[in-house]
């Protein structure tokens, strides 16, 4: 079924990488089960976007969008009106960060699933 040697080696590496990633994310997220929290992508605005946006909703709502800069501008302004704390000096950089990471040309977002229970 598999080319065993290659698969085993690859599998071990995946397990090792996954273990490291899971361990570090678990440490970062404390008691939250692995995978429940999602992060915004790295970048100069990551911390400020996290504070401004993730106070009210989680990162997946952003990660799944594929919008033009014009559409991101409308979203940022709407959310600021609705209580997102965005320093006016950071508005343009935030729009730039969201447009650069979640533009229409990006590959589709791959969602996770909840655990299955009826089989």
């Amino acid at each position: 079924m598999f080319r065993r040697g290659l698969f085993s080696r690859a599998f071990c590496q995946i397990v090792a990488i996954s273990f490291l990633a899971l361990t570090s994310s678990l440490l970062a997220q404390k008691a939250v089960p692995a995978g429940v929290n999602a992060d915004l992508p790295a970048g100069p605005m990551q911390a400020k976007a996290t504070t401004a946006c993730l106070e009210c909703h989680e990162a997946r709502i952003i990660l799944q969008q594929r919008l033009s800069k014009g559409a991101w501008t409308k979203e940022v302004d709407k959310m600021t009106k609705w209580g997102a704390v965005v320093d006016p000096a950071d508005r343009d950089a935030l729009i730039e960060y969201l447009s650069a990471n979640f533009g229409p040309e990006k590959p589709p977002y791959q969602p996770q699933k909840t655990a299955a229970r009826m089989r």
């Binding site: 996954s18 209580g83 969602p111 996770q112 909840t114």
Partner: protein
């Protein structure tokens, strides 16, 4: 399904072979491994697509759409805000006021004495299929599965309103739920016209598929406005107010409105050139075979569902040649006025190759599922002819 997962496994092995196992590939492999291995624990939800954890938005995979009634753990969940942190059935009260002769406050026990009526309803989020709109629009990026069918039961809204006595000035009925609003987000309040509110099939539902509503579906009571967009059926209902005009608020305008006339994709639409969304449109969906499936059978069962809001499904047709020829699918025997029809079609491909299977529904009012959905800035009512691509060997 097995064949598909085998294919992805083969593709994966190909991906990691040889030069691919360089350091640069590690993140994509990691992503793959994590996506395969990590499912999110979620009590009472069964293998649902996680669109958002906070607020909770869950979508049914299309392969679930093979039963007339959708089991509650497989029924999509749509929230605009936080679910109520406390739900105490004993303390719950429903206020009925506004343009009525006698305002009421009802406990759950008092509500249950007002009789029980059941409606089998296909509930669909207005934004179902939003991710398929081009250009893409903001909002939860639903695939095809923000829809489900359940038997909803509870007293008729009309009986409650009759008890309160609607004044002649009462033209619209507003619902407020107990969603917990973050920041300065406007509360989720919407209204429906009095005619729909007084319709004998519009309910204050307390049960779903014979059991009390679960928290995600609006325990202990929700509005159930059959045939209409899901947003009309307010969850965790605590206030009903009869108004002399349509409610004014974010979720009536600019939310949940549709352009009066077709617009060019990507164009802005003036608010005065829109109308509130009400009933669902005509639509069919293929639940099997799965998109991307590799099939060997000489006879292939194509199946799915079709619904049309307040109208009935008249026919569902299938094409396997790019829409040149359409063949009638067989409609399932189970039917109810506001519910979808299951359908099936036995397809006998004459030769091997790559095929696109398409499904197209027509309803009792003559509406036909279009080849391209009407684009609109919020991606509502996506209903283009459905299709899946398969390989027959």
């Amino acid at each position: 399904m097995n064949r598909i997962s085998m294919n992805s496994r083969r593709a994966f092995l190909k991906q990691i072979s040889g030069a691919a196992m360089v350091a640069g590939m590690a993140p994509s492999i990691l992503t793959w491994a994590r996506a395969q291995e990590q499912v999110i624990p979620f009590p009472n939800e069964d293998g649902m697509i996680l669109r958002s954890f906070r607020f909770i938005d869950l979508e049914s995979p299309v392969e679930y759409f093979n039963s007339f009634l959708t089991p509650v753990p497989r029924f999509f969940v749509r929230n605009h805000m936080h679910e109520p942190s406390e739900l105490d059935a004993a303390a719950w009260r429903l206020e009925v006021g506004g343009e009525v002769e006698k305002p009421l406050t009802l406990s759950l026990a008092e509500l249950s004495k007002l009789g029980t009526h059941s409606v089998i309803n296909t509930l669909e989020c207005a934004g179902n299929g939003r991710s398929l709109q081009r250009p893409q629009v903001p909002g939860i990026q639903w695939g095809k599965g923000a829809v489900g069918t359940a038997r909803f039961s509870g007293p008729r809204l009309g009986d409650v309103l009759q008890r309160a006595g609607v004044k002649p000035t009462g033209k619209h009925v507003m619902f407020r739920g107990r969603d917990e609003v973050p920041g300065k987000v406007p509360p989720f309040i919407r209204s429906i016209p009095i005619e729909k509110a007084l319709d004998g099939d519009t309910l204050i539902a307390t049960h779903m598929n014979g059991s009390p509503l679960t928290k995600h579906h609006g325990f202990p009571a929700r509005a159930l406005v059959p045939g209409w967009i899901g947003a009309a059926s307010c969850k965790w209902l605590t206030e009903i107010k009869v108004l002399d005009a349509e409610f004014v608020g974010n979720f009536m305008s600019p939310g949940y409105r549709f352009p009066n006339h077709p617009v060019n994709p990507g164009d802005a639409v003036k608010p005065e050139e829109t109308h509130p969304l009400t009933a669902l449109t005509v639509k069919s969906m293929i639940s099997g075979p799965s998109d991307g499936a590799s099939l060997k059978a000489r006879q292939i069962a194509v199946h799915g569902t079709a619904w049309a809001g307040e109208a009935d499904i008249a026919k569902v047709e299938i094409s396997t040649d790019g829409g040149i020829h359409w063949n009638a699918a067989k409609l399932g025997h189970e039917q109810a006025h506001y519910a979808w029809r299951l359908w099936s079609y036995e397809w006998k491909p004459v030769k091997a190759g790559d095929y696109t299977i398409q499904s197209r529904a027509t309803d009792s009012s003559g509406r036909v599922q279009p080849s391209t959905a009407v684009w609109n800035p919020s991606g509502y009512l996506y209903n283009a002819i459905d299709e899946v691509k398969v390989h027959v060997s």
